[in-house]
Amino acid sequence: MSADTAGPETLGSLSSEPEQQDPNSQQAKEISGKSPMRIALGRLAKDKIAVVCAVVVLFFIICAVFAGPISSAFGVSLETPLASERVDGLNQGLPLPEMGPPNGPFTMEHPMGVAPRTGEDNLAYWLYGCRVSLTIATTATIFASLVGVIVGLLSGFLGGAVDKVLSFFIDMFLTIPFLLAALTIAPIINDRFNLSENYSTIQKTALIVVLSIFGWMGTARLIRGEVLALREREFVQAARVMGMPTARILFKELLPNLAAPIIISISLMLPTFVALEAGLAFLGIGVTDGVSWGQMILKGTNLTFFREYPQYLWQPLLGIVALVLSLNLLGDAVRDALDPKTRR
C-alpha cells in the first residue's frame, strides 16, 4: 500500500505537505467521495445478520445452479428405475428399510431418503425443486420490476392524463387478489394444455406470467412517488432546457437515481414469489406437473406419511423457510442500509 501511494502523488505534494504517508492515505480514503451504493454496501457488510443471510441465499443459489453436478456427485438422480424396488407397496408405499428413513438408517445411496409411493430420491428432488423455485421467482421478479419501473417512470414523469390512466390501472390491479387470479387461470391452463407434451414448461411460464402481471404495482407506486419528487429537480430541468428527448431524460437522468427504490422493491418481491410458488403448488394449482417443493409438502401432509415419515415433510419445508426467511431478513437489512435516515 505505502509503496503505491508513495509514487507520483507524494512527489507532487512534496512541497506543501511534508511526510504524511500513512495517515494521508487513510485520510484520503475517508475524504474520497463514496457513492451512496458504496456506503450502503459498507453498512451491509457490517450487519452480521445480513452477512449470514447472504451466505444462506448464496448456498441456495449454488444448489439451484449446480443441481445437476451436485446430485451426480452424490450419485443420485431424478429418474426412478422402478418404484417397487424402493418403496413397500404393502406398507402404504413407505420406503423400504434399505432405502433409509423412516424404517431404516440413512444410507449413502440416498442421503436424504426416498419419497414414499413414487420412490424418487429426495436429495435430487430437493435440489431440482430449489432450482425451479429460484428460477420462477427471479424471472418473475425481473419482469414485474421491468413493468413496474416503466409504468412508474411514465406515470410520474408525464403526469396528466397518462398518470390518471396508469394510476387507475395500478389501483385496479391492486384490488384483485393475486391468489384468486392464479386460481382463476389454473383451470384454463389445465384445460388447454393438459395433454400437451411440455405441460410443465407451460405451467411454469403461466405462473411467471401471472406473478409478473400481479406483482408490478408496488414497484410502480414506489417509482412513481420518487419520480414525482425528482422531476422538479434542477438536473432534470437542465436536461429539458437542453432539449434532451424524453426517453433519454427518463433512462439517463432519472433511472440512475432510482437504484435504491428498485433494489428495495426487488428485495420485497423475491421472497414473496418464492413463497407463492411453493404455496400454489401446495394448493394444487401451481406447478403440478414437474418438480416443486410445494408438491413435496402437499404429499408430506398426507396423514399416513406425516405420522410415519415426518422427515419427508420437513425437507422441503425447511428449504422454503430458510430461503424465504433469509431473503426477507436480507431485504430488511438492505432497506435499512439504503435508508440514509437510519444510523447504527
Binding site: F168, D171, M172, T175, I176, P177, L179, L180, A181, L183, T184, I185, A186, P187, I188, N190, D191, R192, P271, A275, A278, G279, F282, L283, G284, I285, I297, T301, L303, F306, R307, L313, L317, I320, V321, V324, L325, N328, L329, D332
Partner: protein, 336 residues
C-alpha cells in the same frame, strides 16, 4: 365529502365492470371450448364433437361474446333461465350461472358458504387487534429496552416465514401429533346447528394461527405510530398537567396512533372476507376459498368465475369504506 363518495363509487363501479369483463372474456376465450368441462362431465369423458356442439349451442357459446356478456349482466338484475343441453335451470336474480357439478344456482351455494368465511374473517381480524395493538403500545412505552428489541426482532422473524407453512405446522402438530383436546376437530360447524361451543372449537386454531401471524404487522404499525404520538407536544402538555399515565397513554396517545391502524385493519378485513384460501384449505373449513379450490379441481368454470367476481367486489367495497371512515376519524385528512 358527498362528492368524494360519489366519485369513488363511480370509479368502483368502473373497476367492477372491467374486472367482470376481464373474467368473462378469460373464461370465454381461455379454454379450448368453454363447454368442454361440462360436456366431459355429463358424458363420462365421452364427449364427441356433436355433443360438444349441443352444449356450446345451448350455453350460448355460438353467439357473439358481447351478446352473451350482455345477458350475463342482465341476469344480475333480472331472473333468467339457463339451458344446458335439454334441461332448463331457473336462476333468480342476481344470477351468476349454474354450477357444472351440482346444477344448483351458483349464487345460492355462494351465500351458503359465506358464514364460514365470515366466521374466520371476524375471529382472525379480532385477534389481529387483540394481540397487535396492546403489544405495540407496550413496546412503544418501553422503547429501546431489551424487551422491546427482542419483541421487534422476534416478530420480524415470525412475519418472515410464509403464512401457509406456519398454519400448516400449527394444524399438523396440534391436531394430528398432540391431538389437543377440544380443538382438534377443526372445521366449520354452523352456530345454529351445532351450538356456539362446537363452532368456536372448530375455528379456534384457524383464528389463532391467523391472529399470531397477522398481529405482527399491527404491532409494528401501532408501535411506530405510538412512538410518534408520544413525542408530540400535547402529550408533554398532558404530562405537565399531571394527568395519570394511563390517561395520557390510552386517551391522548393511542387515539391519535390508531388512525393508521384502522386503515390497514379495514383493508385486511376485506382481504380476509374476499377469501382465506390457505386457512380454509389447511384447517378444512368449507368456506368460499375451499369451494373455489374444489371448483378449480372439478373445472367448474361458473363457480370459479363467481368467486373471482365476489372477491373483487368485496375488496373494492372495503377499500371504499376504509377511505370514507378514514376521513371521518382523522379530521386532518381532506378528501377531494
Amino acid at each position: 365529502m358527498f362528492a368524494y363518495v360519489v366519485k369513488r363509487l363511480i370509479s368502483g363501479v368502473l373497476v367492477v365492470t372491467l374486472v367482470s369483463m376481464a373474467i368473462f372474456l378469460l373464461f370465454w376465450f381461455g379454454p379450448s371450448s368453454p363447454a368442454q368441462p361440462i360436456c366431459d362431465r355429463e358424458t363420462q369423458n365421452r364427449c364427441t364433437a356433436a355433443k360438444l356442439d349441443i352444449y356450446e349451442k345451448t350455453l350460448g357459446y355460438k353467439n357473439p361474446v358481447y351478446e352473451e356478456y350482455g345477458k350475463y349482466v342482465k341476469g344480475i338484475f333480472v331472473d333468467r333461465t339457463l339451458t344446458i343441453a335439454s334441461n332448463d335451470y331457473e336462476c333468480s336474480a342476481p344470477c351468476m350461472g349454474v354450477s357444472f357439478r351440482t346444477k344448483q344456482p351458483v349464487k345460492e351455494e355462494l351465500v351458503s358458504r359465506i358464514p364460514a368465511t365470515f366466521s374466520i374473517a371476524i375471529g382472525g381480524a379480532f385477534l389481529y387487534l387483540l394481540f397487535g395493538v396492546p403489544i405495540g403500545v407496550a413496546a412503544a412505552r418501553r422503547r429501546g429496552s431489551v424487551a422491546d428489541k427482542a419483541l421487534v426482532s422476534s416478530f420480524l422473524f415470525i412475519s418472515s416465514v410464509p403464512y401457509y407453512l406456519f398454519a400448516l405446522l400449527t394444524w399438523l402438530y396440534l391436531t394430528i401429533t398432540f391431538e389437543v383436546p377440544f380443538f382438534s376437530d377443526t372445521g366449520y360447524f354452523p352456530i345454529t346447528q351445532d351450538g356456539p361451543f362446537k363452532w368456536f372449537s372448530g375455528l379456534f386454531l384457524a383464528w389463532v394461527a391467523l391472529g399470531i401471524f397477522g398481529c405482527t404487522q399491527y404491532t409494528r404499525f401501532t408501535r411506530g405510530a405510538m412512538v410518534e404520538a408520544l413525542s408530540e407536544d400535547y402529550i408533554r402538555t398532558a404530562k405537565a398537567k399531571g394527568l395519570p399515565t394511563r390517561t395520557i397513554v390510552y386517551k391522548h396517545g393511542l387515539r391519535a396512533a390508531l388512525v393508521p391502524v384502522v386503515t390497514i385493519f379495514g383493508i385486511d378485513f376485506g382481504t380476509l372476507l374476499a377469501g382465506t384460501i390457505f386457512t380454509e384449505r389447511i384447517f378444512e373449513i368449507q368456506g368460499i376459498g375451499w369451494w373455489s379450490l374444489e371448483a378449480v379441481q372439478g373445472r367448474d368454470l361458473p363457480v370459479v368465475q363467481a368467486t373471482a367476481l365476489f372477491s373483487a367486489v368485496v375488496l373494492i367495497i372495503s377499500n371504499l369504506l376504509v377511505d370514507v371512515v378514514y376521513s371521518v376519524l382523522d379530521p386532518r385528512v381532506r378528501l377531494s
